[in-house]
């Protein structure tokens, strides 16, 4: 392995990671500078349960009409994000645990996951260009973030076999992109995972306090309409104090 690739895989990544972490800390400080609204009403439900429900909502495709009615779109989301996790894992496995990718089955599994994510990325880019509603709201950041992800998946697909003896360029491309990503991500929409806990926390807290979240599963199934009501009537028995 050349010295250039060794430094790129290790020192450069660490430096970029520290940069990203530092920017994230500043970003969080910035977020916490804004006041959080105070709740002054009696609760009807549990804020904690609402927050928990809201946070795990992403893993419950049946919970939202938007994901329930579009299972294909939800499957794309899952594949894409598993691909992201696999590609990020590869950036640590290659320099620090290279023996893992000596197992052919592991390499094939990673290539399968990252390759599927690559295809989903292309589908998402096509949708962003073709769908007038999505095109209208798309910024240069939206396009670049998606294109970068597609390139990252492609590079990851080629890099995971870790055959630097044959050719170093797939690894150089993969780690070069990773370093760029780590620096660019805090300023792009890709860092939405940093905000997800905030948006979901506030929605879950507000709606959980009012007893709307967690949504009871059977309330959403219309065939139970007439059966689900009776047990809950007890709530109104002599509780006027």
């Amino acid at each position: 392995m050349s010295n250039f690739l060794r430094i790129l895989e290790s020192e450069v990544q660490i430096a970029a990671l520290i940069f990203m972490g530092t920017v994230y800390i500043f970003r969080l400080i910035w977020m916490f500078k804004f006041k959080s609204p105070k709740e002054r009403t009696f609760p009807e439900g549990s804020e904690r349960a609402g927050i928990a429900y809201s946070l795990i909502n992403v893993a419950m495709p049946w919970a939202m009409e938007s994901t329930r009615k579009k299972p294909g779109f939800y499957a794309q989301f899952v594949i894409f994000h598993i691909g992201v996790a696999a590609a990020i894992s590869a950036t640590f496995i290659i320099p620090y645990a290279p023996s893992v990718f000596k197992i052919k089955a592991v390499v094939l599994l990673f290539q399968l996951v990252i390759g599927a994510a690559f295809i989903v990325g292309l589908m998402r880019l096509y949708r962003r260009i073709i769908n007038p509603s999505v095109r209208l709201i798309s910024t240069l950041d939206d396009y670049l973030s998606l294109i970068l992800m597609i390139l990252f998946f492609a590079a990851g697909f080629l890099a995971v076999p870790n055959k630097y003896q044959k050719a170093e360029w797939p690894l150089a491309l993969f780690f070069g992109l990773t370093a760029f990503f780590l620096i660019y991500v805090p300023f792009s929409k890709i860092c939405h995972y940093l905000y997800y806990p905030f948006t979901r926390f506030f929605l879950g807290k507000t709606i959980g306090h009012r007893g709307v979240f967690p949504v009871k599963r059977n309330l959403m199934s219309n065939k139970f309409d007439r059966y689900e009501r009776y047990p809950m009537r007890d709530r109104y028995q002599g509780d006027s104090s």
């Binding site: 009403t41 938007s66 709201i137 506030f202 219309n222 028995q237």
Partner: protein
């Protein structure tokens, strides 16, 4: 009373600067998270009745509407938008004309029903962003005339329809006499300012002006339940245009009138008549707007009704309401209020042919008149057009009556029924309950 509170448009002021200053002052962490959290996935489009009714118009999607304030936020407060505005569509509004366009978007193309919020994978509260923007525009007087007029009435008279105290008391007296004659019970009362009651009842001024029968229905039920109740002579209006205008000061003022009236009368609880935004404002938002810690239980009259039935304090006969009935969930009561099953349980007791509307509960579509749109005449044609989504829902039920527990929805639905020539009538839960009430001994 309204000096300095109701803001009027001042063309000679630098309104853009004022708008931006207000944005910086008022924004909180919850709003910031929804500003920065959107990934532009477009999933919200299919949840919005505007976007569904106008599929070829990309400016009808919730994300596009939210982006109109988001781009200002990014330019003004967000890192990337301040340094590379062209990269993320960040932009300051150029002039008052642009602020006026923003007004037409946030007031005219969104009823803040929160359906998109519940369908956003990120949990972005687009309705909260719309309300926040409305509040900023209201503060600089760039607001639809209808909203402005109602806000003025609320500041000046303490109620949204400028009902005078004399009119209010006269209507209550008239309803009491009607009830006494109808039921031949001379003891039946509609008390005002009676201290130490079990609850203080607060109503919608629409009930005084256009639908006094709803007060009589409530009084009839309370009488047969043996309830000690009262209306206040001040602070009786539970509606609140602070919710529609985004003006938290007005919201706090209106809500505090109610809370203080209950305190003054030593009422044990506050009961809110059937009204969507009134329920949300009085039960939930009002305490926060007014910085007023809740001291008394505050609940909907439908919860009281259920309690009476459950405790056997009143008897009802569902056979007296034989016509097929469907239920329309008010957005403010279901998604933002948490009363979802309660009206259904009540209907199950008081009518014999209930038919669920689909989708329903948290997924129900807005009546198209929410968010104060009924008071903004300039947006009526679009409101009626996008109401087609609701009309399709109504038609599919085959019901003759559509029941709702919101006065705003009553008018919104009645408008749609008239416009689309449906063979339906809008009623409220208490209408059906009063009809089903067994008054014979």
């Amino acid at each position: 009373m309204i000096e300095g509170r109701l803001k009027v448009y001042e063309p000679k002021t630098d309104n853009v600067k004022k708008f931006l200053d207000l944005l910086s002052q008022r924004i909180n962490r919850q709003i910031v998270s929804s500003m920065v959290g959107c990934v532009h996935c477009g999933m919200c489009a299919d949840s919005c009745h505007y976007a569904l009714a106008r599929p070829d118009d990309p400016t009808m999607t919730p994300v596009w509407k939210a982006d109109q304030i988001r781009r200002i936020f990014k330019r003004h407060l967000d890192w990337t938008g301040r340094i590379f505005p062209w990269w993320v569509h960040a932009r300051y509004p150029a002039d008052d004309e642009e602020l006026n366009r923003l007004k037409n978007i946030v007031f005219g193309t969104c009823s803040a029903c929160r359906r998109c919020t519940f369908n956003c994978p990120m949990g972005v509260d687009t309705a909260a962003l719309i309300s926040f923007t409305r509040g900023l525009l209201t503060e600089i007087g760039i607001v639809p005339e209808g909203i402005f007029n109602v806000c003025r009435d609320e500041w000046e008279t303490g109620n949204q329809m400028a009902v005078t105290e004399a009119d209010y008391l006269e209507t209550l007296k008239w309803m009491k006499e009607e009830l006494q004659a109808e039921l031949e019970i001379s003891e039946i009362e509609i008390p005002v300012d009676k201290p130490d009651c079990d609850f203080m009842y607060v109503i919608n001024p629409r009930e005084i002006k256009f639908d006094p029968r709803s007060i009589a229905n409530a009084a009839k039920i309370f009488h047969f339940a043996g309830e000690r109740w009262t209306l206040p002579s001040w602070g009786w209006d539970q509606t609140n245009f602070g919710l529609f205008s985004g003006d938290d000061n007005l919201g706090g003022y209106k809500a505090k009138n109610v809370y203080e009236a209950a305190k003054k009368l030593h009422a044990k609880r506050i009961v809110i008549s059937e009204c969507g935004h009134g329920y949300r404002a009085t039960r939930w938002e009002g305490y926060n707007w007014a910085n007023y810690d809740q001291k008394l239980p505050t609940e909907s009259v439908i919860v009281m009704l259920l309690r009476y039935i459950k405790e056997g304090r009143i008897k009802v006969d569902p056979a007296r309401n034989p016509e097929p009935v469907t239920f329309h969930d008010s957005c403010n009561i279901a998604r933002s209020g948490g009363l979802i099953e309660e009206p259904r349980w009540a209907l199950d007791y008081v009518c014999s042919d209930f038919r669920e509307m689909h989708p329903n509960r948290l997924e129900n579509f807005c009546c198209a008149g929410g968010g104060g749109l009924l008071s903004m005449a300039e947006y009526r044609p679009l409101r009626l057009e996008v109401g087609k989504i609701k009309v399709d829902q109504l038609k599919a039920t085959g019901a003759k009556l559509v029941c709702t527990m919101c006065h705003n929805c009553v008018d919104g639905l009645a408008d749609l029924i008239k416009h689309y020539k449906l063979n339906m009538k809008v009623v409220q839960v208490l209408d059906l309950a009063a009809n089903a009430l067994i008054t014979e001994k």
